[in-house]
Symmetry: D2
Subunit: 282 residues, 4 copies
Amino acid sequence: MASSGAINTVGIIHNPHIEAAAPLAVKIAQAVRHRGAEVWMAQEVDNPEIAHLVAQTDLLVTIGGDGSILRAAHSTAGCTAMILGVNLGRIGFLTETEPDGWEQTLSRVLDGDYWVEERMMLQAEVRRGAETLAQGNALNDVVVGKGAHARAVHLQVRADGDLLAAYVADGLIVATPTGSTAYALAAGGPIMPPQQRNILLVPVAPHLSLNRPVVLADGVQVQVIVGRRTPATLILDGDVVAELAAGDVVCVGASSCTARFARVRERDYFYRTLMARLAPKE
Amino acid sequence: MASSGAINTVGIIHNPHIEAAAPLAVKIAQAVRHRGAEVWMAQEVDNPEIAHLVAQTDLLVTIGGDGSILRAAHSTAGCTAMILGVNLGRIGFLTETEPDGWEQTLSRVLDGDYWVEERMMLQAEVRRGAETLAQGNALNDVVVGKGAHARAVHLQVRADGDLLAAYVADGLIVATPTGSTAYALAAGGPIMPPQQRNILLVPVAPHLSLNRPVVLADGVQVQVIVGRRTPATLILDGDVVAELAAGDVVCVGASSCTARFARVRERDYFYRTLMARLAPKE
Amino acid sequence: MASSGAINTVGIIHNPHIEAAAPLAVKIAQAVRHRGAEVWMAQEVDNPEIAHLVAQTDLLVTIGGDGSILRAAHSTAGCTAMILGVNLGRIGFLTETEPDGWEQTLSRVLDGDYWVEERMMLQAEVRRGAETLAQGNALNDVVVGKGAHARAVHLQVRADGDLLAAYVADGLIVATPTGSTAYALAAGGPIMPPQQRNILLVPVAPHLSLNRPVVLADGVQVQVIVGRRTPATLILDGDVVAELAAGDVVCVGASSCTARFARVRERDYFYRTLMARLAPKE
Amino acid sequence: MASSGAINTVGIIHNPHIEAAAPLAVKIAQAVRHRGAEVWMAQEVDNPEIAHLVAQTDLLVTIGGDGSILRAAHSTAGCTAMILGVNLGRIGFLTETEPDGWEQTLSRVLDGDYWVEERMMLQAEVRRGAETLAQGNALNDVVVGKGAHARAVHLQVRADGDLLAAYVADGLIVATPTGSTAYALAAGGPIMPPQQRNILLVPVAPHLSLNRPVVLADGVQVQVIVGRRTPATLILDGDVVAELAAGDVVCVGASSCTARFARVRERDYFYRTLMARLAPKE
């Protein structure tokens, strides 16, 4: 069980679509056992058994890309388990180590030579009249987007009940600081250090609407109300979770859960990555 | 048949989804007959009979919004028929008159007191290996976008054969100057006067890709090559015309056809509309 | 002297460059005296006598535009005086009433029927080696910009000591949420509700540098280090306060002072103004 | 004298502020003489003698950065001399070779194994009433900007006499396609291949004004009229050429002169450079 600092149980989640993931999982499991900790391995599957395991786990090692981390964050929401990502994906803003550095990184974490980075998550809920259609957490973003083939969605946004803006757009992204370097960045949003607590609104291709991102305090309750020209779609961290109809209300606010990452890199790693990735080459 | 200036045959196309359109069509038809010209009326339907009528028509009056004009432009491509739009829609960048001004506008056109505005169109063709999957003209834009539920498409763009850019994005808009105030504007593109001849490329939500619009000369042949992470979708002027697979090539260039508009407003009307619509209120 | 709620002393500051300001000041002074409160009047001049008066004042009425409010905010920093702005300027994001509404607004404030809005300010300090060249507060923004005729400045930015970005640009804006709708908006920054506490970095015309705004928590200490290609200039709320040389460091952080505004409008006034000013007309 | 293709006279212009430029000029001069062509060398100085020399020159080799090329383009405007740039500067969008490749590049040009790239230039003229205050050519851009310390300029822009937009901004850039990757890019403009002929308008930090770039046909005459809140400044290719007052009109149109570059790289070099410079690293 998770106690402060001591890592007694390690879970390893490997992406089934990446060939190199399973063999690496086996190696990591051996290394963990060699250090005397309990270990379990699983593919990325949503099943209740894994949820039960995660609740008993101190450290969750993911082998894959940022998508694997996002799913791990959903499964650890409300638990004390920390996440440690080994990058086998394309970008890796969230992972902690490249494949060739896993041994040193893991060894430092098991030695207690790490720090914990807590990142805020969003909690989203869809209401249709009195009914709750769907709900879930997101580490990157909650997106209300046009469905297949539609040209634009009409959305109204309220902040703590006050009408903030009306959008005709491809979609609206409600993002965390972590998500500010993901889809929100592509749509023109500002960058926020991930340890921060703010809620970011970024419209995607707004047509004759307010076209600036809006940054809100983390205590604000955001409501996105679907107008005509449905269908719209609710997407949490890249996964479609509901089809929306006119009048549906998507309520988004800071989640009481956070994602906890075990870090061995310096605390300024975010800025270093930013400079390396986003500043153009001269 | 169409001869220079003299308007002998008028077609009236009314949008079946707008209640006020059919009664207005009847009134306009009466006014045209009263002036001694031939007139035919139709709802917006693609059928070969109408294509035949359009080829014999001097002036095509559309009753609806910008969407009605776009469909009229497709049907008149390659013909001499001029378009005159009566606005019953939301925005009306393309229409010539609001409903209460139709009598005066129509009267001036039938008197020969008008000028003709020619606007360039795009010609698009999808190639899968040796096969041509689909083709068509567009007055606003050719869009290669992500299909339903996909997060992003991977696209490679060539200009006259040279690799111009690789995009990971929600989509890529290839637009005419007319389209520069439509979807391309929403996606962050520059504005171009509609009489101009240029080809505009605007990515939608590009992620860690070239994120600037590119303006090309109208003689350039653009190729958009679909990469992995299909499905992608080909959209001409807002209508889905093909589902695309990895390796498909969308070839886009200036069409030999133009859209011809009968105008009674001053020749600077575009800038006036621009100022009125796009400059924020103080 | 200022006590909670009760308004015993009112200062009136009028802009000497607006003809209508002085006569309006006289009328407002009469109304205040009629209500039994002490009143003093002054043109906008920096002199020690006024600083002394402001310290003894409960309410400072400004007659002018947003510039008058900014100067009032500087003079009340560290005092309990609230600001109430009557708009005789062009935009008026900060003022509380248009000229024709002053009587009702003032009357409600003197009746105690108002709420107090506190807005964060920035504190800036220029260091050249061990020396402090200049310092001051800003309600909108601290700008390090190119001087006259220079093409660009080279700047390095550190956040709590970590290198965040290097810019070649016309300048860098460090703004408060209040400033997010001023110069920072013009330079492409996001919008933040003014009651919020965040620090916003927006480069102006960055050339092959990080070109996204960055939003930081209000506790972060920002350092802007001037590189070669001087001269650079330090501007606080629109006023040039220092000429900067290579190696100079501008330290910016949240000020311990806030600007306090007396408000009679609804608490959602910011969003209403935003919608009215920034959303394009359809 | 310049005849088609044959290069009999070569001028070498070296930047006096770059230490390595003069020795390299000497080496290049030797190589040219060895090939039997006439050669002259000069520092970058505007003097009538050099203008006279340039008129007799077939190839002008510049040793410096893009700034050296811009000055060379001004001096060759109206002549047949081609420009060949050796890059000793920071960026080098305009230069043809890095220092270590000069021998091969020069040799190919002297062998006639090159192509000529013609790039459009702008012609600008300032009118104050009936008087012409200043005029000149620009290869990159004509900028009407705020002078020292001013916050913003108020500008009105006309296109062929029609009011296009009114700006309150740091400045307005009128750029060629060549300039689209220079200051205009920093200010948010689109990219245009340099062989194209278009006029690009990009406001710098526009405040509550039209904030989109506008692309015009190359035949359009642009007028920029200076409003209140002077002083404004006229800058051609980065050099201040006039201080402007309220009411001054800056007339800008395509110049009858072009800049002619001798190129040995492939004709798609522009896109290759674009990809290498502007696409972020993954």
